[in-house]
């Protein structure tokens, strides 16, 4: 059974469609890796899947509240400790256990440290630990391995594999090899929107082109 299925989706950035005709489905235990050069629309597609912006055309079918989104910014507060940050997000998503997520990302020793004093890689790990506490089935990840060292990438890949093994799914925009040979690829550069054949303009820049 598919957790998320997308039909003929078109997404827009800056009032112009970036990619169109995106069709895929991910089932339990599947990972989909988005590829394509900078600016092709990977981030825009992920934000649309997460519900942060409306699609220009097409449909996204998923259970309500199925998708957890993680982007370049981790949503951390420097004044709060690692545990406080994580506990906050856990409570927002209606959960309270954070110990497993802390240890999965090797943050247990840093739990009481203020997030402001973390290194970039440690912050990133905390941002990924936030994904674990959401308890959501589908992860939509935008460049999750930025500023992670090799060991941390391995840590992330293993928790991703554990997530998939538990019946989760993931859609990941990344340029590096995560060591997931079973993951499917979707190259967005083939789906670049063609100018001037939209039934409905995506924004001012299309309405007046």
């Amino acid at each position: 059974m598919s957790l998320l299925s997308v039909q003929d989706l078109a997404v827009a950035r800056g009032g112009i469609r970036a990619v169109e005709g995106v069709t895929f489905a991910v089932s339990q235990g599947e990972a989909l890796i988005l590829r394509g050069p900078n600016g092709v629309g990977k981030t825009t597609l992920l934000r649309t899947l997460a519900g942060l912006q409306p699609p220009v055309a097409g449909t996204i079918e998923a259970e309500p509240d199925a998708i957890a989104y993680a982007a370049h910014a981790d949503g951390l507060k420097g004044a709060l400790s690692v545990a406080e940050n994580l506990r906050f997000w856990a409570r927002i998503f209606g959960r309270d256990k954070i110990d497993a997520s802390l240890s999965a990302m090797n943050l247990t020793d840093l739990a009481e440290r203020p997030a402001a004093h973390l290194s970039a890689g440690q912050k990133r790990r905390l941002g990924l630990a936030r994904l674990l506490v959401t308890g959501r089935k589908v992860w939509a990840l935008d460049e999750p391995t930025v500023s992670l060292d090799t060991a941390s990438v391995g840590l992330f890949a293993s928790s991703l594999r554990a997530h998939l093994a538990q019946g989760g799914a993931a859609i990941i925009a990344t340029h590096i090899d995560l060591g997931l040979p079973e993951a499917r690829m979707l190259d967005l550069s083939d789906l670049r929107a063609q100018p001037g054949r939209a039934a409905r303009p995506a924004g001012f820049n299309e309405a007046f082109a």
Binding site: F204, A207, F208
Partner: protein, 241 residues
């Protein structure tokens, strides 16, 4: 064929280009004849020659409020039906409305000096026009602060809705706060309060002229906005390619 057809930029450009000269000529004729006729009216028995400023003041004050109402309608059309021309028309109308508000305030002050002995009085009507001017300023500032046209159109649309509610509230709140010097509405349907026909007809002509002037200015400015959006769209496509 529905009225929404004219929300299509191409059709709007074609139609507005055709009617614009006639509207502009009509506005010029009405305002010129209304003001000349108004200037030749006899002095009022109480107010003397100062009464003649109403041929500028009343139409400007009327337009100040009605332009905001037009912006509210255009914003609602944009937010509900997503017609791009509607959002641009609201944007185009705002500076015209602000200038009309300013004309109403300045002519009011010029008239107030000989009549009430003061340039400015915190009278409810004056105050609410000043408040309206502040709302125009905020609306124009928000449009110019945002680069992305889609975001700007949506945000200013919402500001216009919330602003309308609070401008309306302020209008009645100031009545509570100060009872005021200003006379009642210049044009009233109640018998006995009506202005003499000597003044009324040139005033009607001048009001019609101001209405046509507003229409002409909004058409010109909307056409400019459409051309500007088209230019921006071409540049955006060039950058993307």
């Amino acid at each position: 064929m529905s009225i929404w057809e004219y929300a299509n930029p191409v059709k709007f450009m074609r139609l507005s280009g055709r009617v614009l000269p006639w509207v502009a000529i009509g506005a010029a004729i009405c305002i010129a004849s209304g003001l000349v006729w108004g200037f030749l009216t006899p002095p009022d028995y109480k107010q003397g020659a100062t009464v003649k400023i109403i041929f500028l003041h009343v139409p400007a004050a009327m337009m100040a409020i009605n332009i905001w109402a037009m912006m509210l309608v255009a914003s609602l059309i944009w937010l509900i039906r997503r017609h791009h021309v509607s959002a641009l028309a609201a944007k185009a109308a705002a500076p015209v409305g602000a200038v009309m508000t300013l004309i109403a305030l300045i002519t009011g002050a010029i008239w107030g000096q000989p009549m009430w002995g003061t340039w400015w009085e915190w009278d409810p009507r004056l105050t609410s026009v000043l408040i309206l001017f502040l709302f125009y300023l905020g609306y124009i500032a928000l449009w110019s602060a945002i680069d992305d046209a889609d975001t700007a159109a949506d945000l200013t649309g919402w500001l216009c809705i919330v602003g309308s509610i609070f401008a309306f509230l302020s209008r009645y709140a100031v009545l509570f706060w100060n009872q005021g010097l200003h006379q009642g509405a210049s044009l009233s349907l109640a018998p006995g309060e009506r202005m003499s026909a000597v003044y009324r007809y040139p005033l009607y002509l001048s009001m019609l002229g101001f209405g046509l002037l507003f229409l002409a200015l909004v058409l010109v400015r909307t056409r400019t906005e459409i051309r500007r959006r088209r230019l921006a769209a071409l540049i955006a496509r060039e950058v993307r390619a």
